[in-house]
């Protein structure tokens, strides 16, 4: 099956909204699990890896959450489809590079995705829109409890769940939230904040996880330590920190509007000018400018720009999505032209940003996680 026939359209994805969506793009929890009697995927020989895949795959497909699912071996996926999955944050870049003996099982609602034979035999992930860290943990906990009845997990009472890399040992949990923080970036407060978050034992990374740039003012905050602390404690600590980051971002936006309104308006106005009028634009520049469009929309400066449209454009302007749309492989230069065409077309009806009235009611979603 063509992966794009299975996946939600970018427009639908953008319309999935969660609490605090203005700042928290998504919440994710992933668990690393392994089989007791089989070598880890990176060390197992191909036949052993395939055996493990064939054992795990039907077990995962049998989960009630996977009643309608997309299940495929990585060697059957065209490179472009794999890249689409990476751009949707459903599989890691590492997993996209895998071939025979690795696979993925993805639920129809895209909340649950299991990578088989990535770095560990199982990488179970629950990805939810907005701030729903606790909800994500409770969902994945249930899935994991159902799987442990069928699969003999590698577990030691002293060291917990045994993982290929010692950094995931113990709970095997990685809890993360994807945050859009243009206010803190413009207010030049982002670096001290990242350092403060690091001091709490949490990592701050870019849009695509480990070793990636913070494009589009998007930052991923996640726990680093997995041993010596229970899942619930990790989830609580991260929720608390994310709550504080939301507050800092809101304050920064408010402060900028009061103290440096021209600087903010200039950024947003220029972003609009380029994104809506360019004839060639890179994905990096697009993400960075769309971030300011989104900020403008959050601040009520684009009355006719649905915030979902900005989110949708975030997805559809990425390289694999552009090529999928063009139904063919494009080189970087052709992609930049196709991307600019798409942006001009989609933003045709959007009028120039208006100056928000003083103490504007921002469209920010201040609703905290229930």
């Amino acid at each position: 099956m063509n992966i794009c026939d299975f996946l939600m359209s970018p427009a639908e994805t953008a319309r999935r909204i969660g609490p605090a969506q203005g700042i928290v793009l998504s919440s994710r929890v992933r668990l690393a699990r392994n089989l007791r009697a089989t070598a880890f995927p990176g060390w197992a020989k191909k036949p052993e890896r395939i055996r493990a895949y064939e054992l795990i795959r039907p077990t995962v497909e049998a989960l009630p959450e996977m009643a309608a699912c997309y299940s495929e071996s990585m060697d059957n996926l065209p490179a472009l489809d794999k890249q689409i999955l990476v751009e949707r944050h459903l599989v890691s870049r590492e997993h996209a590079a895998k071939g025979a003996g690795s696979g993925l099982v993805l639920a129809k609602d895209e909340r649950l995705c299991v990578m088989i034979n990535e770095e560990d035999h199982l990488r179970i992930q629950v990805l939810l829109p907005g701030l729903q860290i606790r909800q994500a943990w409770s969902e994945i906990d249930g899935v994991d409890s159902r799987l442990e009845k069928k699969l003999d997990y590698a577990f030691s009472p002293k060291l917990g769940y045994l993982t290929a890399c010692p950094t995931n040992l113990g709970t095997g949990i990685r809890v993360s939230a994807m945050l859009h923080l243009p206010g803190l970036v413009l207010a030049e407060q982002i670096n001290p904040i990242i350092q403060a978050v690091n001091k709490l034992g949490l990592a701050v990374r870019g849009l695509y996880g480990e070793g990636t740039e913070a494009l589009g003012n998007v930052f991923q905050v996640s726990n680093q330590m997995t041993l010596g602390e229970a899942e619930a404690e990790i989830v609580e600590r991260l929720s608390k920190v994310v709550g504080q980051l939301i507050e800092h971002e809101e304050n920064a936006r408010q402060m900028l509007l009061e103290k440096k309104p021209k600087m903010v308006l200039n950024q947003i106005g220029r972003a609009y000018g380029i994104v809506a009028n360019a004839h060639s634009i890179s994905s990096k520049e697009t993400l960075n400018l769309l971030s300011f469009m989104k900020l403008g929309s959050d601040l009520g400066m684009f009355p006719d720009l649905d915030r979902c449209l900005a989110d949708e454009l975030f997805i559809v302007t990425q390289p694999a999505h552009i090529q999928k749309e063009a139904a063919g492989k494009l080189d970087a230069e052709q992609r930049d032209v196709a991307r600019a065409d798409l942006l001009r077309d989609r933003l045709r009806a959007i009028k120039r940003p208006t100056v928000p009235p003083p103490r504007s009611g921002s469209a920010l979603d201040k609703q905290a996680e229930a």
Partner: protein
Amino acid sequence: MLCCVCKQKEATVHLTQIDGEKMQKVDLCEDCAKEKGVNDPSSFSLADMLVGLGVSQETEESSGGAELRCPQCGFTQADFKKAGRLGCAQCYETFYEGLEALLKSMHKGTRHKGKTPVSQRGSQGLRERISGLQKKLDRAVADEDFEQAAQLRDELKAARTKLTEMAP
């Protein structure tokens, strides 16, 4: 604080090395520091020493033994040094000694606190009790407290029988 290499003498040399995003800490006694060439920072790499399981590797080499190899999957310390990943679940037992310092440096603790599969829940407490009893028994024997030892031996036997019964 004891030296993390010889685990005998007091550590007086404390090092922190930042390599990219990772921070590693190591505490050494003066003799081990000299042996590792800590006075000559250019020749010393914490990463080699810790991530490469250098600690136990050196012990192994100096004792003239063959390189440690996981009995289940054939993984060696050299493989870990290269990949930074282990070979299989059993490796954690095989290489535990060299890993302990690494785990200490990267995690909040070295003991799992968190979810336990249901199948493991009943036996976990029992296993811990058994290892505790065994330690007490060894101590009693060493102290030649045979009355105590006999009592511990009986308790240990009962606990072991119970564990065997629980196993599927």
